[in-house]
Amino acid sequence: MPAAAKSSDAPKPASSKSGSAVASLSIEDEVRAYREMLLIRRFEEKAGQLYGMGLIGGFCHLYIGQEAVVVGMQMALEEGDQIITAYRDHGHMLVTGMDPKGIMAELTGRRSGFSKGKGGSMHMFSIEKNFYGGHGIVGAQVSLGTGIAFANRYRENRRVCLTYFGDGAANQGQVYESFNMAELWKLPVVYVIENNKYAMGTAVSRASAQTDFSKRGASFNIPGEQVDGMDVRAVKAAGDRAVKFAREGNGPYILEMLTYRYRGHSMSDPAKYRTKDEVDKFRNEHDPITMIRARLIETKRASEDELKKIDGEVRTIVNEAAEFASSDPEPDVSELWTDVTR
């Protein structure tokens, strides 16, 4: 076995080289970013609890640890821009403004869920919020996002499609077919590669010959950069650059977000393939929410009381979502037959 594949090759947090030019956020944006990241964190913790209680079944992939990525990227978008992602999708939906009650109710398989309980954790959509799912096959959404961008180009509507996928999906073939097509046709798509260090249970270094995913578009001339995905300011700044590039008709752009997933791949994964020390290091030293909270206090942009108020509001939203998702009726059995075809 090559030396590089040894277990001692533990993932490291993003170095300062990435996102070196960290943009400063306005006070409003920074407080909003804190609130939205916290909402995702608390929502996911609650989903984990409901799963443990048996109220949620099937697959459930939590986003805890990666919150800064979607929050920062969403802040780089304009009204009408689209997003599409894979199955670790709860955070992506929450930042678009989709109702937490509808998301949680989908997790519990209830009739007011975004897909009336027929999609589950991995398959929710909101065309109203320009969220195109919610896809279960690793890498498939990359071609779909490219197609959404193709439609944008066709309509000349100056919209950009954010297409999220993971370090695992980055090794699937259709990703490269899509890269080629997107650059060839100069499609307005930003590929956001969420490198959370593990493709299910396999570390990046054990699955990828080129572990710098920002270079994965190099042979198609697609520019890319690595970003500290634990720092929402760095994400927002990189997002601004990439989205502007795509919107102005220059073609696709790749952002590799260096991030970390605290929980297992799904609820059924005890994550024995990594050490507790490794997880603790990220949690204790690089947690995106702890960092922004400390920064807000330190720079006196927000007071402890103000942040506590936000904490309370977020808890209320999540508790109400959980309560709704526990009491909402199950779908009518007739739903089995609806929306198969028109």
Partner: protein, 326 residues
């Protein structure tokens, strides 16, 4: 009324839909500048321009993924997969993406696209370019599957497929591209899920699809001339939705059922229809239903081998004759 080849009907059908709806875009390998590998899309680039008629890289997954992404936003793409055998290369989109999006999204994301493809044997292309893959598609809930046998149906069913709000697999038969047929002037729009009785008869019902339709018709004429057996031939045209009313209605009149299928034997479309007949038309049957198919083998390239693999006019006629005890 004009006489048109099946291949020219493809181009006319696409043009008809592109002219009436700016949301229709057409993409595929070699479809624009080269006019299609089977020359079935000649002239479309010149008529509609490179934004709407697009040559793609040889990337079947990206072609179908792009088509679906665009369809989710409301465009109505027609995507060409050059040979239906290549469905296996991009089957994720056909099996997991197109047909599930409406169901999984509570009806929010629709997938109004058409995948056109060259299906079937007869050109000595060998095992990887000659398959009949209709059963790969019809087994997936959420897909519609049609296969025209003549130029008029090409135009009408293509129009119906493009205007349908669901994903439609449109199987063109490679060995029919050069065949000719009468086509009325003006717009032609057909209806999915309708079979057509192409030869009325009273002694037996023969169901056929695509290239097997002219063979079933020739077999019926032979049976009439040589054995006074009067067969009804039905062009199934649409496998999903399936016109069970026309099929079972014919069975109720003739009391015998034959299917002529180009696909390899296991799980062919005829097996499903025989199963439906057993369920819903059992007491109309005066004898066992008979499936006439290609054997369960990969397709060979050599003339003599490919010719005997597919159901021939003689084999169809002989099988019907023996079953009827004539």
């Amino acid at each position: 009324m004009a006489e048109l080849t099946y291949r020219d009907a493809v181009a006319r059908g696409i043009a008809q839909e592109m002219a009436r709806d700016p949301d229709v875009v057409f993409l595929g390998e070699d479809v624009a500048k080269a006019g299609g590998v089977f020359k079935a899309t000649v002239g479309l680039l010149e008529q509609f321009g490179p934004l709407r008629v697009r040559d793609t890289p040889i990337s079947e997954q990206a072609i179908l993924g792009a088509a679906m992404g665009a369809a989710m936003t409301g465009l109505k793409p027609i995507a060409e997969i050059m040979f239906s055998d290549f469905f296996a290369v991009c089957f994720d989109y056909i099996a997991n993406e197109f047909p599930k999006s409406r169901y999984m999204s509570n009806g929010q994301t629709k997938c109004p696209l058409v995948v056109r493809t060259g299906n079937g044997a007869g050109s000595r292309f060998g095992a990887q370019h000659s398959q009949s893959v209709e059963n790969w598609c019809m087994m997936i809930p959420g897909l519609k599957v049609v296969a025209p046998s003549n130029p008029r149906d090409v135009i009408g069913l293509l129009a119906a497929a493009v205007r349908d709000p669901d994903p439609v697999i449109f199987l063109e038969h490679k060995s029919l591209y050069a065949t000719k047929g009468e086509v009325p002037d003006g717009e032609i729009v057909d209806t999915l899920g309708t079979a057509s009785i192409v030869r009325p008869g009273k002694d037996a019902t023969i169901l056929a699809l695509a290239l097997m339709v002219p063979r079933a018709l020739a077999a019926a004429e032979k049976l009439k001339a040589e054995h006074h057996i009067d067969c009804e031939v039905i062009d199934v045209r649409s496998l999903v939705p399936l016109d069970t009313q026309t099929i079972l209605g014919s069975l109720a009149r003739t009391h015998r059922l034959f299917t002529v299928e180009e696909n390899p034997r296991l799980c062919g479309w005829g097996a499903e229809i025989v199963s439906i007949a057993a369920d819903e038309g059992f007491y109309d049957l005066d004898g066992p239903p008979v499936r006439i198919t290609t054997p369960h083998i990969p397709l060979p390239a050599a003339d003599i081998l490919e010719d005997i693999a597919l159901p021939t006019v003689d084999r169809i006629a002989d099988r019907v004759k023996r079953s009827l005890g004539a």
